[in-house]
Amino acid sequence: MALTSAPQAPAIEVSGLTKEFKRWDDRANSIKSLLIQWMRFQSGFKGAKTTVVLNGISFRIGSGEFVGIMGPNGAGKSTILKLMSGIYQPTSGKIHISGQIAPLIELGAGFHPDLSGMENIFLNAAILGFGKKLAEEKLPEILDFAELGDKIYMPVRFYSNGMMARLGFSVATHLPAPILLVDEILAVGDLNFQAKCIQKIQKLHAEGRTIVLVSHDVDAIARHCSRSIILAQGGVHYDGPASNAKAHYLSALNR
């Protein structure tokens, strides 16, 4: 499917985005402790501790770009993916997404071990946001890519991890959304499968889709992405060609 859109129209626009998580260490987390607090006439809230994960960051990702997001642990890579997919709301600032998102964040989300691969395709597709018509229309392609043959009628509890990942990847990549969010999923499966996944993602990129990939694998990002964004300490540490990202990534790690 070819998506026709101007190459530089922003697919994702992040401006002044801040995300804080609040933590109440002294807040009652059970009804029992709430009652005890009341009985001792304590007010539960002595003030929240705030962790700022993203602090006023801004960037634009143009339609059709292939961007790798890197950063040390806790730099906010997963948080920004969750903000992009709408699971989290920004504390302040804006994030604007034009078009539907295909989340390749957890492969085989919602697979039920007692159902067959075929039954799970529909369940998984529905969870990812397919409608009925689309799921039926894409079924042949999904089956074709998953290469499970007759095993598609077997309950997935008998699948190997690789087979499960193949099926999950196949469903997720057949959602015709203009934006793909990919989180570390390339670490699953054997080398053949990884190569096939990368190939598929590159094919989708060639069709004009926007791809945002989160990974720790500097070399993979340098190889596949055109641009890299490195997050560190709540800000954008580097934003530029992926080929130069390695040195910046190492400096972000050592800071």
Partner: protein
């Protein structure tokens, strides 16, 4: 504010359909007797209550078997749905924290799956009534309306409890206690008229306090319930639904998913 369209997940019909189908398939897959199997527990519960209350304690209620069975089937629906819904957000946190799914989907799917069992069980009540010598009358059809009301009550309460559960995890222990209180505080095993006049108000502060007597009246007596009883039940249904909508809207605003 969440719209009613979204509250009932009507924008996610394919998702809800597939998740309900999954639940039913898993329940019924192993045997063709699946449906009878889900009936077995309420039916044996009804049998126990029949033995204890009618045979041993000699409670004076006519047509005690259809009386107890209809009450138990509605009650089992409510308690199963509340138990499952309350845990549903925590149980699905791996999905909710990774994929954008409306969180009300989980309590709604739990309510619909159990609700389907309830609707399928209603003909069984009619059969037991016939066996017990109660003629079927058009007024009996009102129980389908009552089933719809209890479905909405169960969904609303389940949605509220599932959100509270995210913040207060010991709710599950209190829920068990609460369900026991509710069961004995509702005329399920006994008749409404056995309650002393000075305690009748208890039925009005109980979301299903007037619903169960209405079910019994429509099925066993075959007459219209008191308009006041119908109105109170309707008031609870609508009130809880509005409250659930408010709780959901606030939970989404406050980012409940971040607490999972």
């Amino acid at each position: 504010m969440v719209s009613f369209w979204h509250l009932f997940c009507l924008h996610k019909k394919f998702l809800v359909y597939n998740m309900v189908v999954r639940n039913l398939k898993i329940k019924y897959r192993r045997s063709m007797l699946g449906f009878l199997w889900t009936l077995l527990i309420p039916v044996s519960q009804a049998a126990i209550y029949y033995l204890v209350f009618q045979r041993i304690m000699k409670v004076q209620i006519d047509h005690y078997v259809p009386f107890i069975l209809s009450g138990i089937l509605f009650w089992v629906f409510l308690s199963n749905t509340l138990n499952e819904s309350t845990e549903s957000l925590l149980a699905n946190c791996h999905l909710l924290s990774k994929i954008p799914i409306p969180l009300q989907t989980f309590p709604w799917v739990a309510s619909l799956s159990h609700g389907l069992n309830l609707f399928l069980a209603l003909p069984v009540i009619f059969a037991v009534m016939l066996l017990n010598g109660i003629p079927l009358r058009p007024i009996n059809g009102l129980v389908f309306g009552f089933a719809l009301e209890i479905l909405i009550i169960a969904y609303s309460l389940g949605l509220i409890l599932s959100v509270v559960m995210v913040y207060f995890r010991d709710l599950r222990y209190l829920l068990n206690l609460g369900l026991q209180l509710l069961m004995y505080g509702t005329p399920i095993l006994y008749e409404e008229k056995m309650i002393p006049e000075s305690f009748r108000w208890l039925l009005w502060v109980n979301p299903v306090g007037t619903l169960f007597p209405s079910i019994h009246q429509v099925l066993i007596e075959g007459t219209w319930p008191q308009p006041s009883a119908l109105l109170i039940t309707l008031g609870w249904t609508v009130g809880l639904l509005l409250l659930a909508r408010e709780v959901l809207s606030r939970a989404l605003r406050k980012g409940v998913v971040e607490w999972l």
